[in-house]
Assembly symmetry: D3
C-alpha cells in the first residue's frame, strides 16, 4: 500500500481555526499620550475585538501506513484545548494569564501560540520528524502575521 | 445618453463595510445563571469581539443622467460617520449610547443600524424613490442577520 | 432592557454549515445514453463528490428578553442531528434513505433539507412567528440552489 | 423516481461567472468639471478596470425527470456566448455596441445583462415556468448591484 | 522593452483549479477496526467527496520578451489534461490507476500531483530555469497540504 | 512588558490592498500576429482590466516596547502614496511612467512594486532588521505572482 510513499516525502499540513476575542493595545509603561500615538483607536479604554483566524502548519514525513502526516483528530483536540479553550470568547488582556505582561498585538499572539503549540507537540509525539512549521494569524481579512520560530 | 434608462429601472445597490468591536451578551434583568443558560460563553464578564461585516442595500430608480442609484462617495461618507464613527474599535456595551439598554446581539445591532441609516437617508435626499432596503450583518463567516424594516 | 425591541422587529437569521458527500447523477428509468446526455460526467458510475455549503435562514420576531430570534445552540444541535448526521461523509445515493427514489441533484437536496427542517422546527418550538424562510445550497463556489418552500 | 418532486417545487438556481473588463465613467453631455464631480477618479481619461463577478439566478419548477431546473450545460453555453463573448477582455465604452450611448456604471451593466439574457431565454425554452429572476454584479468585493427586471 | 527585466528576476507564478471527486480512506492491509480508529467516518464504505482546490506554483526567471514566466494558455492545457482529465468527477479509489495501491489522503494526492506535473513539465519546456515549485491542495476550506518535492 | 519578546522574534507581517486598473498586453517590438499568439485576448486594442489584490510582506524583529514589527499607520500611508496613488483607477500602459517601456504583465507589476517599495522602505526606517520580504499580486482569484527580490 501507499507505494507513492516508498521514498520519504516531506509535506506541510495546515489547519485553520477561528476564535473570537476582545483586546486593547495599551502599554502601561508608556504615557496615555504615547499610547494614543502608537496604537491610535486600538487603545480605546474598553477594548474592541476580532474574529481571529489562525492557521497552524506542521511539517514532516508522510506515514507509509496511514498516508497521514499527523492524526487530524488529535490535532483538532490539541487546538480545542490549547487555543479555543484559552482564547475563544475571552478578553486577551484580562482573561489570558500568559499575556498579562504583554501588549496583545497580533505579533505577540503569533509568538505565544507558537510557544504553546511547540511545547505541546513535543510532549505529544515520538515522531522525530514532525515539527511545528508555521503559525499564521489573520486579525482581519487584510492584516496577518506569520511566525516560524526564528 | 443612457438610453437603457429611458424606462425606469429599479435596482438594489449594496455596499459592504467592516468594523471591529467588542461586546458581551448579558441581560442585567436576568440572574447570572439565566445569562449563562441563554448566552453561554458569550456572557463572559470581560467580553469578546468580532470583525463585523455590514452590508447596506439601497433600492430605487437609476438616475438617467449619472447612471447611478446614489452617489457612492456620499454613501461612503454617511457610513463613515454613522457606522465607523459609532461602532469601530468600540465596546458595544460601554461605548455606544444607543445600546445602553440593550443586549447587543446581532439581531439588535441590525435593527439599530437600520433605524440610524433610515433616519439619516431621509434627511439626506429628496429622491422619493430612494429607500433603505436591507441591512445585513455577518458576526462571523457562519452567522448573519438581515433586517428589512418590517 | 432591549428598548429597540419594544415594537416587533422581523429579522432573518442565517447559519452556514458544511458537509462533504459523494453522489452520482443517474436516473435508472432512463437509458445509459440518456443519462450521459442529461448528466454528462456527473453520471460517472463510481460517483464524485462535493463540499456542500448549506445556509439555513429562519425568520420571525426578535425576542424582547434575549435579543435573539432563536437559540443558536439549539439550532446548532438540530443541524448536527438532521444534516451532519444524515449527509456528512456519506454517499447520497447509497447512504440516505430519503433519497432512495431520487436523482440527488442540488435542487432535490434543497427540497429534501427544507422538508426535514420544516418538520423538525414545527415539533421544536411553540413560537408561532418563527418560520423556516430559506434553504440555500452551494454545490461549488459557482453553483447554488435556493428553496423557499413554494 | 424523484418522489420528492411529485408536488411542484419552485427553486432558484444561481450561477456565477467572471469577466475582466475596462471602463470609464464619463457622460459626454456633461462638462469635464461635472464629470469629475460625479465620477471622481472613475472618469480618468484612459479608463481603469475590474474583475466583474456576475451571478445569474433563474427560477421555476424542478423537472420531475431530471431533477434539474435547467440544463446547466446549456446555461453555460448561453453565458459563454452572451456574456463572456461580449464583455470579457473588452473595454466597455469602446468594444460593446449596446453600451455606446450609456455611461457603463454597474447599474447600467446589470440592466443591460438582464435585457440580453431575458430575450435569449425566451427564445431558448418552451418551459413557461422558467424565468430569469435576478442579475447581480459585484464590481469589487465591496460594491454590487442587483436587478430583478422591475 | 521590459527594461525592468534587464537583470534576471525570479518569480513564483501560481494558478488555482478545482476538481470534484469522491474518495474513501481505507487501508486493506489493516483490519476494519483499525481503519475506523485511523480514519473515522472518512472510512465509510460508500465513500464521500470534496471540491478539491489545487494551487500549482512554478518558479523561474521572467522572459524578457513576453514579460511572462510561462505561457498560461499552455499551463491551462497541461492542467486540463493531467489534472481535470484524471481526477475531476471521478472516484479517487476506483477511477485513478495511479492511486490503486494507495490510501487517497490529501497528502498522497499532493505527492502524486507533484510527480505527474514535474514529469510533464520536463518534457514540455527547454527552459532550464523553469521549475515546479509547489503543489498545494485544499481538501476543505480548513485543511490543506503543501508538497515542494522534498 | 512584553516578556515574550525578551528573546528576539522574527515575524512576517502582511497587509493586503486592492487597486482597480486597466491594461493591455502588447509588445510593440513584435508583430500584431505574434502579439495575438503570445497574449491572446489580453492584447485587445482597447485594453481590459482587473481588481488587483496586492499583498505586501515585511520581515524583522518584533519591537519590545510596542509589540509591533512596523507601524501599520505608516505602512498604510506608504501604500496609499506609492501604490494607490500610482496604480488605482489608472490604465497601466498609459498612466504609469515606470511601465512605459514594459508589457504590464502581473510578473512585471510584481517586480516594479518590489523595486518601488524596497527603495521607499530604505529611506523610511533606520531599523536594520526590517526588510521587504515578499510582494504577491492576485490578478484574478485564480492567478497570482510572487516576487521576493531574487
Amino acid at each position: 500500500m501507499n507505494n507513492l510513499l516508498q521514498k520519504p516525502r516531506k509535506v506541510y499540513v495546515s489547519r485553520k481555526i477561528e476564535f473570537n476575542a476582545a483586546h486593547r493595545l495599551f502599554n502601561p509603561l508608556c504615557t496615555e499620550h504615547e499610547n494614543v500615538e502608537i496604537y491610535g483607536k486600538c487603545s480605546n479604554i474598553n477594548g474592541h475585538g476580532h474574529n481571529y483566524l489562525l492557521e497552524i502548519t506542521l511539517s514532516g514525513i508522510v506515514d507509509q501506513k496511514t498516508g497521514f502526516l499527523f492524526d487530524l483528530k488529535e490535532l483538532k483536540n490539541i487546538l480545542e484545548e490549547e487555543i479555543i479553550g484559552r482564547f475563544d470568547h475571552k478578553h486577551l488582556n484580562h482573561d489570558v494569564p500568559e499575556l498579562q505582561d504583554c501588549v496583545p498585538t497580533t505579533e505577540v499572539l503569533a509568538v505565544l501560540i507558537w510557544d504553546i503549540l511547540e511545547q505541546r507537540l513535543q510532549t505529544t509525539t515520538n515522531n522525530q520528524e514532525l515539527a511545528l512549521h508555521e503559525v499564521t494569524i489573520y486579525e482581519t481579512g487584510k492584516n496577518s502575521v506569520r511566525y516560524l520560530g526564528e
